[in-house]
Symmetry: C2
Subunit: 293 residues, 2 copies
C-alpha cells in the first residue's frame, strides 16, 4: 500500500500528452453533465493551470436516458474506453446522482492493464466505483467533481481536484491525512450499500471518513447501526466524520446531533472516533486518495 503514490508520480508521465500536459478524461457513470458546465471547467483549467492540464469530456457525459447519462451499456463503454486508454493520467467522474453501482459488473469485467496506470476520482454515488476499483488494485481518490463548478464557490473545489491531479499538491488533501495511515472516504449511504457486496474493499487498518447529505437524523442513525455492526468495519483504524448537510427536520426531534450519533455508534461498536474530516457535499470538499497518499 505504501509507495502507491510514489508509483503514481512516476507513472504520471505516461499520462502526459505530446505538449507535456496532464491528460484528464471525464466520464459520467451516473447523471449527465450540461455541456456549459464542461466549458466552464475547461476554461478554469486553462486559466488556473496555464495549459498544463488537458481535460477531455467524453461525449457520453452529455447523453440522457431517464435518470442517467446514457444507458448502462453506454456509460460502462465510455468508462472503459477512457480507463483502458494509456494516454489518460486520470479518469474523473463528471458528477454524482445515481448510476455508478449499476455498471460495476460491466466495468470490472472490461478493465485492462492500462487501467492500473491512472487514478479514478469522484465521490458520493461514485463511491461504488471507488470501492470496487480500490478493491481490484486501482488507484482511486474521493474528490470534488467537475459538476461542482456550479456551486457557489465551486471554482475552488474544481481547482482543488485539478491541483491534485496536475501537481499532486498536498494542499488539496484532507488535512488529517498524514501519509502514514491508509485512508478512505465514502458517502455514508453508499458505504452502507457496499456492505456485504463483492465490491466492498478490505478497509482493515484504514482511517475511514464519512459524509452525508439530505438524510434524516433517524436515517443517519440507522446507517450507523448498519456500518458499525459489520465485522469488516470493526477492523478499521477509526472513523472521521465529514459534514452531514441539509438534514431534513426530524419529527419528533431526534434528540442527538449527527456528531453525537456517530460518536454513540463508534463507542457501542468499539470503533475509534478520530474527529472531523474536511469532506462533504460542498465547495470545501477535499481530496482523499485511498490507501497511503
Amino acid at each position: 500500500m505504501a509507495g502507491r503514490y510514489k508509483r503514481k508520480v512516476r507513472r504520471t508521465s505516461e499520462g502526459l500528452n505530446s505538449l507535456g500536459k496532464v491528460k484528464i478524461g471525464v466520464v459520467a457513470p451516473a447523471a449527465r453533465l450540461h455541456p456549459e458546465t464542461a466549458e466552464r471547467v475547461t476554461q478554469l483549467a486553462a486559466t488556473a493551470f496555464q495549459g498544463r492540464a488537458e481535460i477531455v469530456f467524453h461525449p457520453q457525459c452529455f447523453l440522457s436516458a431517464g435518470h442517467f447519462a446514457g444507458d448502462d451499456e453506454t456509460r460502462a463503454a465510455a468508462f472503459l474506453e477512457f480507463a483502458n486508454d494509456p494516454s489518460f493520467a486520470h479518469v474523473w467522474f463528471a458528477r454524482g446522482g445515481y448510476g455508478s453501482g449499476r455498471i460495476l459488473p460491466r466495468v470490472l469485467n472490461g478493465l485492462g492493464g492500462a487501467a492500473k496506470d491512472k487514478s479514478y476520482l469522484g465521490y458520493s454515488d461514485g463511491g461504488f466505483l471507488l470501492a470496487a476499483l480500490y478493491r481490484s488494485g486501482h488507484r482511486v481518490a474521493h474528490s470534488p467533481f467537475p459538476h461542482e463548478i456550479r456551486r457557489s464557490g465551486g471554482d475552488a473545489a474544481v481547482t482543488r481536484a485539478l491541483a491534485w491531479m496536475v501537481d499532486q499538491s498536498r494542499d488539496a488533501l484532507e488535512p488529517s491525512i498524514d501519509g502514514k495511515h491508509p485512508v478512505a472516504a465514502f458517502n455514508l449511504t453508499i458505504l452502507s450499500k457496499l456492505i456485504g457486496t463483492p465490491w466492498m474493499p478490505d478497509l482493515a487498518g484504514h482511517v475511514v471518513m464519512i459524509e452525508e447529505v439530505s438524510e434524516h437524523l433517524y436515517a443517519i442513525d440507522r446507517l450507523m447501526v448498519h456500518i458499525t455492526s459489520n465485522e469488516g468495519m470493526r477492523k478499521i483504524a477509526g472513523l472521521r466524520m465529514g459534514r452531514m448537510s441539509d438534514v431534513p427536520e426530524n419529527d419528533p426531534p431526534f434528540g442527538q446531533t449527527p456528531e453525537e450519533i456517530v460518536r454513540h455508534w463508534c463507542a457501542a461498536s468499539g470503533i475509534a472516533f478520530l474527529g472531523p474530516a474536511d469532506i462533504g457535499h460542498d465547495a470545501a470538499n477535499t481530496v482523499v486518495p485511498f490507501g497511503v497518499p
Copy 2:
C-alpha cells in the same frame, strides 16, 4: 425447519391463561403507541374473538423519548420482560417507525429459554428483530401491527394478525405460502440494512418477499443493486414483490416501474422472480411466518 409450526400449535397451550385465553404481549421496540390505539385494539379483540384473546400492552408502549417509545434500555427491558415470560404465547410489536435495530444486542443477550416458546410478530422497522430472532432459532412472523387499526380499513389488518395468533387461521397468511417452501418477508430498506450484519439470517432456499413505502424509484433501484449483489441473497429460492407504495416522483422520470426494477435485478443476479406478494404498508398486509408455516 419443517414442523416449526406444528411445534408452535402444541406449545400455544403454554400461552393460554387460566381462562383459556391466548395471551398476547405488546411491546414497542420503535415508536410509541397512543393509549387510545391500545384501547381500540383491546375492544376489537374482545368483540372479534369473544374473549379468546387477552392482549397485554406493556406500559413501555406509551413512553416517549425523542424519536422512541422510551430509551434503548427501557425498550429492550420491556421486550425481554415479555419475551422471557412463559405466560405469553406471542410478543406483538406495537408499530414501526425506527428503533428496533438499536436494541438488538441488548435483546439478544437477554433472551432466556421461555423466549423460544412463543412467536414474535411485526414488520417494517421490526424486521431488524424478526431477522435476528429467526437467526437465533425463535419463531417470528411478518404481520400487521396493533397500530394498523388507525388506518382506513385497519380493523381488518389487526383482525388478520389476531386470527393467526389466536386460531392459526391460514386465511391470515400471504396466499402464495404453500406450507412446503420456507418463506421470509422484509421491508426492502431494512433487508438492505441487515446485509453484512451478524443479524442477517441464512435465507438459502427461502422464498423472500419484499415491500417498500415512501422511497424514490432510484432508491428502490439502489436497494435492489445492494440486496441482489449479496452472496447469501443469491442462494434464496426466489423473490416475491409486495406493494411499493407512496413512491415520490422521480425527477427526471426513472423510466421503469417498481416491478420492472425488481425483475431487472433478479434477472441480472440470477435470482428467480416469483411474482407478487400480498404484503405492504397497508390494511391488506398479510401474515408471513418465517420458515415453513
